[in-house]
């Protein structure tokens, strides 16, 4: 096990810079998730850590050693790929065993490790099957097994669950998380899915356009987003962003600076809530409703701006009707409209 340190790490493809000098410290045993929209440089960063992509600038340390120039195999890390990359011509046992190809263990020790890994991942009954005879989730488990069996100093995952259906994805999230709790191996996990990031990470790193926007625990990012992007990226449905101008005259807000965006999470904007203690009350016309069971998401328009609010219970207001909703003090997020930086909460 080891810590991983990125210092001013840069990746250039010919003339295009894909990663612009990012800094990140990953502690020993930590589960860090790199999250961001497609094309923001997550995979590139991960592949630089793995040694699959040359580092154009900056420094990468695993433990105390600078590994910029080391080949992947000298870094003792294991990687799990999006499309599993398990070898179709080998059985599950051979696939997992392939992770030990270069190891100096004896045959018996290798077999014992393979069996143990298979047991942990629930693959014992499938060890002699070929990948073609496995389900998607089982294949991904084989890929994880191949990574685990080597006892690497770090695991790297690149969108490992995006080929699975939603139900299986939820299940595998938990399994990977549990595995990490048992093994305590430093893990860097890449995904574009903020739910995966929120549910799995010790710490989330939000990336955009080759920069790190914010780093913090899931709760931290949810409660204190540093900018509009992070605020909207973390949490579903996305945070409502309403220009202050649209709220003129409606709100109990002290200042009406037109250069300010007001952010409200749909779960904090409650339809028909009591108004005492509310910092802001707005009314809008209902456009659509999504009953989810315990609550109903109400899509409406406030002064032309789309806004999503929550109605506890599953009685939907009729489309076209006007509803009033309010936010408690402390649940408003303010942002500078020009720089999109956070200005704190109200």
């Amino acid at each position: 096990m080891a810590s991983i340190t990125l210092e001013k790490l840069v990746k250039r493809y010919d003339k295009v810079e894909a990663v612009h000098g990012i800094d990140l410290e990953i502690a020993d045993g930590e589960f860090v998730v790199l999250v961001g929209p497609s094309g923001c440089g997550k995979s590139t960063t991960l592949r630089m850590i793995a040694g699959l992509e040359e580092i154009s600038g900056g420094e990468l340390r695993i433990g105390d050693e600078i590994v910029n120039e080391r080949a992947p195999k000298q870094r003792n890390i294991a990687m799990v790929f999006q499309n599993y990359a398990i070898y179709p011509h080998m059985t599950v046992r051979e696939n997992i065993g392939f992770g030990l190809y270069t190891s100096s263990l004896s045959k018996d020790e290798k077999n014992a490790r393979i069996e143990e890994t298979g047991r942990i991942l629930g693959l014992t009954d499938y060890l002699d099957r070929r990948p073609a005879a496995l389900s998607g989730g089982q294949r991904q488990r084989v890929a994880i097994g191949r990574a685990m069996v080597r006892n690497p100093s770090a695991f790297l995952f690149d969108e490992p669950l995006s080929n699975l259906d939603a139900q299986l994805r939820a299940q595998m999230r938990i399994e990977i998380k549990k595995l990490h709790q048992d093994l305590k191996t430093t893990t860097v996990y890449v995904t574009h899915d903020q739910i995966e990031a929120m549910t799995m990470a010790d710490r989330i790193v939000v990336m955009k356009d080759g920069y790190i926007l914010q780093t913090g625990t899931p709760v931290d990012l949810y409660e204190n987003p540093a900018d509009v992007f992070t605020a909207r990226f973390i949490g579903t449905p996305s945070m409502n962003m309403i220009p202050m101008a649209a709220l003129a005259g409606k709100a109990g807000l002290p200042d009406h600076d037109p250069d300010i965006l007001v952010g409200v999470r749909p779960h904090d904007l409650i339809v028909n809530a009591p108004k005492e203690g509310a910092i802001l009350t707005i009314s809008g016309q209902v456009e659509a409703c999504e009953p989810l069971g315990p609550e109903t998401m109400v899509h409406m328009r406030v002064d032309g701006e789309p806004v999503i609010a929550t109605l506890p219970g599953n009685v939907a207001p009729p489309v076209g009707s006007i509803v009033e909703c309010s936010v408690e003090t402390g649940k408003l997020y303010l942002f500078d409209a020009k720089t999109e930086k956070g200005l704190g909460r109200k």
Binding site: A85, Y101, R146
Partner: protein
Amino acid sequence: MTDTDRQEALSRYRIKIQPGRILIWTLLFIGGIVMITPLLFMFSTSLKPASDVYDLRLIPAHPTLSNYVAVLTSTGFVRWFFNSMLVAVSVTCSNVFFDSLVGYTLAKFRFRGRRFIFLAILSTLMIPTEMLVIPWYLMSANFGWLDTYWGIMFPGMMTGFGTFLMRQFFEGVPDDFMEAARVDGMNEFVIWWKIAMPLVAPALSALAIFTFLGNWTAFFWPLIVTTSSELYTLPVGLSSFAVEAAIQWEMIMTGAALATIPTLLVFLLFQRYIVRGVMLAGVKG
């Protein structure tokens, strides 16, 4: 739709399609006849005594195995068969190894001059064999390769076509496979041999079949480069039945019939791999 409706619709469909079907079957039948007739005549003639060769009945009037005995015992057939086998197997192994090694390198590594090398290899496909025979001959003469096994084999040890074919197939192998192995500590040669090669098994089978057949039946170059009959390949040896005295059709046909055996074996052997390979390729990731 009720069952009777459906049946009616189906039968109408069948009636409608029939003229096309008949045409297709007829064409296929004619094609089949055209292809199989020479083969049948070959076997038939091989079973006829020399005096009956120009009696063009398909079923021999006086069937005999004496031609087979004669070909196997009193000619150089066994030696030629061995020569052909040696040449075809060596060249096939060489192609499977080197074509795929070069094809893999061109498909999966980025290096200076990669495009140029690929284009250079492609351009060799555009030169007909007939034009290459003279340079090959001069080369063999200068290096003392005339009338040797190496002289027969060297032009085919690697082919532009094989390299091109393998490169195209390796391009289709996702990089993830190679990268996963690289992270796991495999060296590049092992990655190629243990990971990439099995993934292109269908292409390798096809390459092996074509190379083997091509060399097994090769006539022009072996005829030019060999002079002593101990080095004749089978086609060259068989053709010598036509020059020594008169054309001994029954001997040629017997030799040719025997020569088809390895061809069939190779095909049956590798065909299985082609089918299995295609199934493998269908596996996701």
